[in-house]
Every structure is written in C-alpha cells, then in structure tokens.
Symmetry: C2
Subunit: 356 residues, 2 copies
Amino acid sequence: MGARKPTLRSVAEAAGVSTATVSYAFSRPDRVSAEARARVLTVAGELGYAGPDAKGRSLRTGRTGAVGVIFTTGLTYAFTDPYVTAMLAGLAEALEPSRTSLVFIPFGEVNAGMAPDEVRRSVDAVHRAMIDGAVADGLDDDHPAVRVLAERGIPLVRSNETAAGPSVVIDDRQAGRDVGRHLAGLGHRDIVALVATPHEPGRVVEVTGQTPLFPYSRLRLTGLRESLPADTRLRVISGGSNSALAGQVAARAVLHGSERPTAIAADSDVLAAAVAGVARERGLWLGAGLSLTGFDDQPVAAELGLTTVRQPVHRKGFLMGRMLVDPGAERGRITLPTELVVRRSTGPAPSVRLGE
Amino acid sequence: MGARKPTLRSVAEAAGVSTATVSYAFSRPDRVSAEARARVLTVAGELGYAGPDAKGRSLRTGRTGAVGVIFTTGLTYAFTDPYVTAMLAGLAEALEPSRTSLVFIPFGEVNAGMAPDEVRRSVDAVHRAMIDGAVADGLDDDHPAVRVLAERGIPLVRSNETAAGPSVVIDDRQAGRDVGRHLAGLGHRDIVALVATPHEPGRVVEVTGQTPLFPYSRLRLTGLRESLPADTRLRVISGGSNSALAGQVAARAVLHGSERPTAIAADSDVLAAAVAGVARERGLWLGAGLSLTGFDDQPVAAELGLTTVRQPVHRKGFLMGRMLVDPGAERGRITLPTELVVRRSTGPAPSVRLGE
DNA sequence: CGCATCGTGTTAATCGATTAACACGAGGGG
DNA sequence: CCCCTCGTGTTAATCGATTAACACGATGCG
C-alpha cells in the first residue's frame, strides 16, 4: 500500500548491491559486469523503477539536457508567428542530434517603473527554468530576463545586434537603409513605418522616442531614416505585437483621409499581409495607389507579390542552436546576409496626390 | 579568482543568518521580518546571487514548474504544422496564468524489433525531462515514451481516443464516417485515403494491416471503410509524416494514368493542400475531375475551398493544459465535437470515366 | 502576575542521484 | 614468486535547496 516511488537506493537494496552499481548499470554500462547489470535491470523492472530520477541527477551533475527559448511575446502569439516557427525549426534541427529538449519560458510584462519584487515575479519562470543554455530573440542586455540568466551563469545566445556576447544577427540597420533607398528611389516622400511593439495588439500608438521598441525595430528605423531625403515625411506607428490583428488596426487607422501615406514599410511580412488586406478593402492597388514592403520573406510574401527583405531565418535558428550545444562551434557574433527582394507591391509614388 | 557561484549557504554566511532565513527571504517573504529580508536581498545582490537554484529547489520540492509536450514527429516538422501550432497556442494559453514552462521532448524512432537498450536510448530525453506533467498527441498506451512517463509517475494527458487515462479527443471514427458518407453520396466508388505515417516524408507506401499508423488515422479509416458501399474501391497510401512534401509525392504517385481515383480523402488540410497543388499541375479541377477532402479546417482550407472536417484544435490544446495545471479541472475523457464543412472541392463523381 | 499567542529566527533531516577514491582478487610478465 | 595492471565492486562526500519542529522574547489578555 504505502508503496513510495522506488529510488536508486531501494533498487540497490533489493538487488543486494551498492547504489553505485545501480547508477553505473543505468548510466555507464561499461563500468559494471554484464551479470550485475542484468540483475539490476531485472530488479528495477520488477520494482517499476524507470531509471535515475531526473531532478536528482541534474542537481548532482549540473546538467539538464535542455535549452531554453525566450520570446518577447507571449507564447500564444509566438507559435502563430511564421518567423518564430521558422527559427524554431532551425533550432530544433541543431538540437536533434543531442536529443536536447527545448524549454519555452514565459514571462510577464516588464517595464521601467516596476517595483523590484514585481519584476522578480514577472521573470519567475526564468529563475525556475532548468536549462543548460538559452536563446533569446530581441532582448536587450538590460532586460531583466537577460540579467537573471547572466547571474545564474547560463550561456545565452541572442539574435540581436545590440547584444553583448554570442549572437547570430543580421544587419538590421543596413536592411532598413535598403528599404528606405528603394522607396525613396521610387519617389515616395510620405511614408509610414509600421512596427511591432511589446504590448497586446489592438491599440494603435504613434511611436516616439519614449516608446519601448524591440532592438531590431530601432535599428531598422535608424537605417530607414538615414536613407530618406530630408523632405520626407516619416511617421512611425504600431498596433501592438507582431500579428495580423495589430497590422490590421494600424492599417485601418492610417489608410484613410488626406493623411494617407504613399508607402508603408512594415516590420514583418505578417504585418504587411494584414496591411495588404486592408488596402484591398479600401480599393487601393498595391504598387500603384499604395506601396508596401514587408520583412523576412516568408512564403506569404511570394504569394502576395510583396517587396520584402529576405533573411535566412531557419539558418539563424540553426546556428544559435549549434553555438549552444557544440563546444567546437564558433563563438562571438555571426552576421548573416539579407537581401531586398523587389516584387510588385512597390511602385512609383503617385506624382500628384489630391487631398480630399 | 576561484570564485564559485554563490549558493544559499554562502549568502547566509555573508549576511550572518541561517540558510532558512535566506530561503524564506526569497520564497516566503511573510515568514521573515522586513529588515532581515532587506539585508538578505542586499547581500545577495552584492554577491551576484540570482535566487535559489532551480535544480536544488526542484529536487527538494518535487515540483518543476514545467510541463512536457511530446510529438510523434520530429520537432523540425512539428513547428511547421498548423494543427500542431494551433494546439500549442491553446496549450500555452492554459499555462500562461501559472507561468508554467513548456518542454518539448524529442525522441528517436522506435519500432517493434528494437533491442531494449536501443529503445531506452531513443526515449532518453523522456527520462531526463524535468516536468510535472505532459501532453502527448497520437501516442498509444504501449508506446515506450508513454510507458516511461507512467513509470516515472508523471501525469499524462493525451488527445487520442485509444488512450487509457485523461484525454481530450474527438470522435475520429465518426468523422471518418462523415467523410465516407459524403463522398459515397456523391457517387464516388474509387477513393484514395491519404494518411500520414511516422516516417520521413518522401517515400510513398501502400498502407496495409502491418503498416504502423497513428491511432487517429486508424480510427478515421475504420469509419471511412464502414460508411462506403461494398463495391467501392478504397486504397490507402502515405507519403510519410504530415507535411506538404509527403502530400505532394503521394499525390504525384496516385494522380496519373487509368488508376486515378475520383476522390482523395486526405487526413489533414496540409496534405490536402499539397494534393490540390498537384491536381492543378495535372489540370484537374477540384470538385469536378477530382474530389478532395481534408481534415482540421485550418485557414488554408477556407482559402482553397476545401471540404474538410472541422475540429476545435485550439480548444483541444487549451483543455489539455487545464487538465494538467488545474486540480479542479474535470478528469477523464472530454470529447469535442467535429463538423463536416462542405465546400467546393467535392462534387459528383464523373459518371463515366475513360481509361487512357 | 501568569499564561497563551504571535512573530521571527535556527536546527537539522531530507529530496535522489553521481563519482573520485579505494579495495581486492585474478591474471600476466619478468 | 613478486609486482603491476585490470576489472569490478563499495564507501562516502557532495550537489543546493526546503521546511517541520523547535526556541525564545515580546505582547496581549484575563
């Protein structure tokens, strides 16, 4: 009745050997004789002992066989984001050979004015996560989650250029410039940049210097700005985190009346696709009445004929994984190439625009 | 220097208190005086102590704050499968409030004729996973991974009807019947069922009684078979695990020559979408020259006008998550409704078919 | 004033394993 | 015959925390 779960010790006693022998039988077969191992395994089977307990083992060895994944956005959104899933696929590919588990670590909102205890609660899952390393996307050095990992001594690979330490990045600023030059070259002088910001989608905000922004957005905006002629009007808005809904509400807000821009530069294909949908509702032709660019070059971009910046997302994830599990992998920062893919969603700016 | 990582003990010594006090300071603020807590936290900060070590803590408490996710398919595929990501989103939603992490556990191929040690190695990650519970999709009771979890005493929620124990399911057999009746009613007497099987996509196999099949496929096929008139020709094939590639190679293999069926019942919208692509290549009109059904009713189905079986995937994931984290949640089996959604991809069978 | 209660701190047992170091008998080589 | 090595088993220290039980002074109450 009161049968507790069998442990290494109970198996050892039942088999009449020391705990060391049982441990070796499971973890280092060459260290014990074949007979001893067979007996231990038999006894273990009879007792319903599944093998050394993961928690005890990992406390002793210091290893967990898992790496963490931290997203800036809630997990619910993350799995629906094609950029994220592509990166995850690459990451999973790198981890597969070593059968390393992948731990998705959620955390709550963190912002400047929060009390220390509140912040601590938000990143509680980061404290509790049992991992040998982690990858994070779009988290700055001063983000509490990054701080905690550093204190815990857990190796972290990131994919933002603003990161000190190991990272796999693209040149976001240059990519921003590429987009800007392309649009400027087509004559656009009234442009809206549509970015994702770390809040629930649905509320449209005008992005100012104070608005918290993902590091990559900041860099792309810098590139965009510095590539545009001085007489260009550039507004930056956001409808929240990267999602169709955010793109939709932002597009609805900006695509009407005399304030309508001639081009929208969206920070992801997901956002751009949503804008394309709203443009269709409004009877605007992409590449004519409205020019539109995306980012990432996900499959949806080709389907929509979307001008976008291609980046090797799968490879990014793969390399991040390698840096964690392969001690021989290169350290430091790896910069991957991007490429502006021009399709029919961008075209010359209307030469004369009539207010209404 | 030889500075090791600070522990609860070193903080206690530095602060001149007992380890209990330090532990309480971090985990049960109400158990210590405000001053003591402040001193401990200060000292911890100076020493760079991030808080109680996750491994030690979880060994002692027996809890991990994480639940596992086990897929029949490799993680690389999993993240690209819309059914999977929808389920994950639901699952993540259920776990969010308790900030529970999600652990993706990979495992290698397992099949009948493997040596015990080989099997053990394949499910090694299941042994090592530090989780309080797990969800699994499409794993039968006798699957090694399921066995290991049972021995380890880890609660498992599954989504297959063949599962003993807690599960959130749909009536796959009934769904199969619905599809069969629909096609039979349209006059189809030569049907190919296209299913996913647990092997790398690319190789097309004719499914026989011996072929290893996912539990849900088996049930749907049973339903399909029993709803078809006796004079119906039914072939079952697979191009491997659920993916566009598998659907494509299977469709290519079956959609040519005089052996061409009048209808294809695919086991997922992903497979069906791939078939639709091949049909287009071959100049076959869906709903006329070829009838096609899918499964799941993912967004792609509406886009393609695909007749399919709708199931509440997000809700499935959500409920599975609740059953794990919420002690008050209902136990046992929850059956969710399905609905045959008829669109234009199915139509009357061609009354006369010419061989070539 | 005596006693119960409360707040706050400490002691020490415990969670379940890994592995360096050692012991000991058998076999091999000189 | 002695010594060395090899194979195999054991001993015991250790990983880093949690928490029941207890101790003790201060406070409240009758």
